[in-house]
Symmetry: C2
Subunit: 232 residues, 2 copies
DNA sequence: GGATTGTTTGTTGTCTACAGTGTACCGGTG
DNA sequence: CACCGGTACACTGTAGACAACAAACAATCC
């Protein structure tokens, strides 16, 4: 039995993923991409019909989306896409700065060679996307890069909260991230350097500036003041 | 119509709260109080029978408890009370320190007279509970006090994340909080002072020390090293 | 025409039933 | 005794039904 080719868990037949999870992913994507508009009423039976499932997995997915803040459940009235406010955006960006600054410092302390190598790969991919002018890839590469820094912190709770915040922030700054992507990758390079040197203070300083730049850029964009995005 | 005695929203008849919310509260309480043990299998039909409802509201409550980290859903196997680990506890306490330190600084900036008055009331209640030797009341007063500081920060996202973390932390330090409650209320008094003076740096310093004391005390308790709790 | 009331339609919240899967137990065989 | 296969039972995931409530619409009254 110990040498059985089927003994390893990795060869287990995967059980089908519950429908509720597919529904969750589908709805989340529609919300993030704004195909489901803020404030829009999400009618369970319609969603169920469109997605080809019964109402139950839809309800369960909505429950989870509600807990994560994407959807507001109003008992008796139904589910509505959460309407973000500017104040909320500012608060999210402030909290993001706090969490990612702390993560950067911890990443500098807890880094691994593999982690650094991966970070550099992600950086290369991001720069390539910028040079190719592939805006969607830039946005994605940016999110991947940040999440990897957070993971290098080796604090799972911090990573989890940062992921929550980051997803909600995407609502706000995806358009910003498209502008002047190159500059933000220069800041990313400085961050890699600080982490590689194990310089927690430098890592924190670079990340704090970087995330504050995002916050400032968001406000400039909302105020319609300019297109001089400083970075993400 | 403007002067109708029924015009004010506060006279509205309250719609019944959905069962799922009552189930959620009941289960959460059982988990926090450890009447439902870590790792325990939560069988939907049993819970439904015990709570006198059908399985649906139980499923919906479990969905929410899972998203919040209290319960692990394993598709096809069911729901299990989340098993906290020491590493997780440490990470939670570290993140709690980060969030609450930032909150304290913002509270010093954004404080209001009402907020301060309320904080002092909560402090009085906490000290009275300590002197009455009412341990459960002490634990509760402590959580109330911390949550109120976080609310004074005027950053709803921060408050929400801090609330999430605080609830999970309760699993770990409720026993600790019982010990030497008086000392932690002395630290709370210093915090009130710093906030009242609008001294954000002092507020941050006091809160950082306070929450780090908790973290240290937790480790000492787990190591069985002593009963010299430094505070919560 | 505007306000009020009654009716209809749509939706939510919950209950019940069914199908599929996992686990435990039992009997038979080597 | 150990192992295997079959069966029964427990549980999960989902679908469908029903009752209650919210909103929209139509009819009636002033």
């Amino acid at each position: 039995m110990p040498s059985s080719p089927l003994a390893k868990g990795s060869n287990r037949i995967q059980r089908p993923v519950p429908l509720r999870e597919g529904v969750y992913e589908a709805l989340l994507e529609l919300i993030i991409m704004r195909e489901l508009q803020p404030g829009q009423h999400l009618v369970e039976s319609e969603l169920a019909m469109q997605l080809g499932v019964s109402r139950q997995p839809v309800r369960e997915a909505l429950q989870r989306l509600s807990t994560e803040g994407w959807v507001d459940l109003r008992p008796g009235y139904g589910a509505f896409v959460h309407t973000p406010t500017e104040k909320e955006a500012d608060q999210l960006l402030a909290v993001r700065a706090l969490l990612e600054t702390e993560s950067a410092g911890l990443a500098a302390v807890n880094r691994t060679e593999e982690g650094l190598a991966r970070l550099r790969e992600l950086w290369d991919a991001g720069v390539a996307a910028v040079e190719a002018g592939d805006v969607d890839a830039v946005v994605l590469a940016n999110a991947d890069f940040h999440m990897h820094v957070v993971q290098l912190s080796d604090n799972a709770v911090l990573a989890e909260l940062a992921a929550q915040v980051d997803r909600r922030v995407r609502w706000y700054y995806a358009p910003v991230a498209r502008l002047r992507g190159r500059r933000s990758w220069e800041e990313h390079a400085k961050l890699i350097e600080a982490i590689a040197e194990g310089d927690a203070d430098a890592a924190r300083r670079v990340m704090r500036d970087h995330t504050e730049n995002t916050r400032r850029t968001y406000h400039e964009q909302v105020d319609g003041a300019g297109v001089e995005a400083a970075g993400v």
